[in-house]
Symmetry: C2
Subunit: 520 residues, 2 copies
């Protein structure tokens, strides 16, 4: 997931990691875990039908080949921001799809980097879509303990034997697990229990600017329309093995509020000496006063006119899910890992989690203006910026909420403050009773994990492309396994876990095998 697109947060039971890096929910979403083992020999705990035993056994047999496939993929980093390895990246993605048995594979040109569209018709009654990204985040080799393109296997204390490389967990490791599952079906000469649509892009890390050109190409859209849902391969396990299944996610608008003398027509057009504060208006004070109108005196409730007009209250079904799931979440561990002593308004754990799920927010991500170094510097800055994100719940929209904010600023005399949206998308919802979600839960449960069901992630991801009209597909991440360090140095993906409740590379692949059967 790109830093400008996917954006989520753990809401785990026991290891509420406060690491704010994006996409971490995808690596830390958690639930209480039962005792089981993924990588201890073949998947004997499972009750086998059809070709399943052969396919699951094949995953272990092809372990070295899967690892080689992943390492080869990591050695070819496509980075859109650097125009690196295009068209090699999409061509390699297409090759991986062909190798995995997709019958129709094509590179889809866009105004930017090409995507890949592929289909695998197994003659099954059910179609499933899979989203993949073949691009990765930039990296600085000097910050890494091993070469970021080598895919070196190292022992990570408390985690196990991991593969270190750019893209290891975001997202080549989990995607390779999904492809390995398909390779196992092919090698075992077993019939896939579902048909597949694969849709891949190579600009995820720059915000998927052209993704809709791929998804809504007529034949792609037609193929997606046949699907019962779409999954994003991901290592969803926390280090304790737990998994959370989210039935939706808040939307988000990220923006900068820029107060400048230039645009205001008051104050200076460049930084001036601070003694002039007696003579010259201050864009920084102007920004502070504008910001102050955005939330109520409680310091958190949005005060933008109309902000709550489209907020749909939680349904009774959502409340029932919360009633079941909230008791499984540990307030003490959440407070400890977040470094928080009190929730907003001193609410109870229960009420604060209701608020987390249901309330839209206006957050200050950052403030920057004038002199920001050590000590002071006597300037009156010509410009000050607040970096803001707004989290949206159904039926708010990114475009509608942005318009409300702009109207609010104009009405309060701050129409000169530039509102520069840098990213965002609408909220998503996926029904709990969808086949996709039921199959996820069944697969996790069969693996000995009772996933935590959660009505809505407070974080955000751009799933609305799929969940909104016209596609209206159930959508969400799926997969066992664990990785870390997305967008950071020493990114890793667990090959052989230290904790037997966590799936390794082969266990992750087997979770996809089981998922395909669960869907059928």
């Amino acid at each position: 997931m790109a830093s400008n697109e996917s954006d989520s947060v753990p809401t785990s039971t026991t290891t509420h990691t406060p690491d704010p890096s994006r996409r971490d929910f995808l690596h830390t979403a958690a639930a209480s875990a039962a005792v089981f083992a993924f990588d201890h020999g073949a998947a004997s705990p499972f009750l086998l039908k059809d070709d399943r035993a052969a396919v699951l056994a094949q995953v272990a047999t092809q372990h070295d080949a899967t690892l080689a496939m992943l390492r080869e993929w990591i050695a070819l980093p496509s980075i859109a921001a650097e125009n690196l390895n295009y068209p090699q990246g999409p061509e390699h993605m297409a090759k991986l799809a062909r190798d995995a048995g997709f019958q129709h594979v094509e590179v889809v040109p866009t105004a930017g980097k090409g995507g890949v569209f592929a289909t695998l018709d197994a003659g099954a009654p059910t179609w499933l879509a899979i989203y993949m990204m073949y691009d990765v985040k930039q990296y600085d080799p000097s910050e890494w303990s091993s070469p970021p393109l080598e895919g070196r296997l190292v022992d990570r204390p408390g985690v196990g034997k991991v593969l270190v490389g750019r893209g290891a967990t975001n997202s080549k490791g989990p995607q390779a697990a999904c492809l390995a599952a398909l390779n196992a079906f092919k090698a075992a000469n077993a019939k896939l229990p579902v048909n597949l649509v694969l849709i891949c892009e190579g600009e995820e890390e720059i915000g998927s600017p052209n993704f809709r050109q791929i998804a809504f190409k007529p034949e792609v859209q037609a193929a997606l329309s046949k699907c019962i849902g779409i999954i994003i391969p991901l290592g969803n396990q926390d280090l304790d093995g737990s998994v959370q299944v989210n039935l939706g996610a808040k939307g988000i608008v990220e923006l900068e509020l820029v107060s400048s003398g230039e645009k205001w027509g008051r104050g200076p057009k460049l930084d001036v000496h601070s003694s002039l504060a007696a003579q010259v208006d201050s864009p920084a004070w102007h920004l502070v006063q504008a910001l102050n109108t955005l939330v109520k005196p409680d310091g958190h409730t949005p005060a933008v006119a109309g902000f709550f007009d489209k907020v749909r209250p939680l349904t009774s079904a959502q409340r029932r899910i919360l009633a079941t799931s909230i008791p499984r979440k540990s307030e003490a561990s959440a407070k400890k890992s977040l470094g928080v002593e009190h929730w907003i308004a001193n609410e109870s754990w229960h009420d604060s989690l209701l608020r987390l799920v249901s309330q839209p927010t206006i957050n200050i991500e950052g403030l920057v203006g004038g002199y920001t170094g050590p000590g002071g510097k006597t300037i009156l800055p010509n410009r000050a910026v607040a970096k803001i994100d707004m989290r949206l719940v159904p039926d708010m929209t990114a475009a509608g909420t942005l318009a409300l904010l702009k109207a609010h600023l104009r009405k309060h005399g701050f129409g000169d403050i530039a509102v520069n949206m840098t990213g965002g998308y609408d909220p998503t919802e996926t029904p709990a009773d969808s086949k996709l979600v039921k199959a996820m839960i069944a697969t996790y449960s069969k693996s000995g994990i009772e996933p935590l069901l959660w009505p809505r992630l407070a974080g955000s991801w751009p799933g609305a492309t799929f969940t909104a009209p016209p596609l209206k597909l159930p959508a969400g991440p799926f997969g066992l396994g664990h990785g870390g360090g997305a967008h950071a140095p020493n990114e890793y993906w667990v090959i052989e876990p230290a904790n037997s409740k966590v799936a390794g590379m082969d266990g992750a692949a087997r979770s996809f095998v089981e998922f395909f059967y669960a869907l059928a």
Copy 2:
């Protein structure tokens, strides 16, 4: 002057430089200038008495020696922050004083770097004190166009032949001009018309933390008490030759307001994912709300309770000075150079200058918190900081105003926000009818410059050490000449000006000769 101590602004007639670097007032203070020449041969335009002609002529004779003295001094940078060249710095300062004819010269130890105290008793009826600093600001040679310790002579377009080096204008060039004047008296075997007390420090650039240990050492204080005032050698000319004489300066308090989850006991103790804005209080919003209480809705008038209680209105004498001086200042050029279209509250030039002189202020120097890089990052920061300066007019004090601010924050529910003062000092005042000011004006006028008299600099400098009890000395910068780039790369001091209205190195030295005679 140090970045943490001296801090002032130009209020010039025609070249209202908006460069916010400190101490710039000392290099740009300006007035309308008459036509005259400083460096065209000996100072024949002056009517000569006593030894004056010989001394003035000697300045030109010793030109090469003065230049060598300055370059040797620049080659020995004392930098307190780097503990560089101590005790060589004070020893060299002491040597320069002895060379200039001071009879008693001693290095004064302090808890930090030593100062120098010296006296020159010429048997004259009048004692004058001179302040010098022998330390300089740090520098990065890679940013300079010539080695910063070489003192290379280069042609600067529109300025003339200048000496480039760290300390060239801040403050070794002007101080060397003052010493050169004394050397000229000595070489000409002429009797000084005043007795001198020299007080020097070597920690000015780190905020003069131990200067009071020098100034209030009993024998130093006793010597200073005999003086009619104290001058700071400085190149006070703007590039058009103009000079401004300030009869005081605002005081200042510089501080950081730090809002943190740690201290607040609410919000997170480290940055957390921004989706948690629905559950966790935000130190950044807390800061915005605190800041919003500090100024009135007009965006500039301080709203801190009691802030104006000690503000002494302008006297009728000060208003008379302003009535004379304001018409000499160009609104159009000030607006142009500042990039300002409207003054506060759309006031007239006259009213805005009255406000500039008379109003205390609370200014935001900078805002910094959370993510400050390009685009956005979805965090809820645990900490946000506002860098503030408050400018004070008589009879406000730095300590008293700081206490008012803290009480205000407590009263409004922001007592958890840390108020970290990083520097500051009280306002200063020097009477217009003091011998010191009269002699300055007389000297400038005699040189063909009608200085602009100004009641109070809106900027600040730590003159209160001298002007406040117990010393209560008139104090201010004096000297012709021009330099630039204080604290910046390619700092320079004019040796031979392109504009004949500006004094070069020798003209600056002659201005001190004339000043000593004017005082006597």
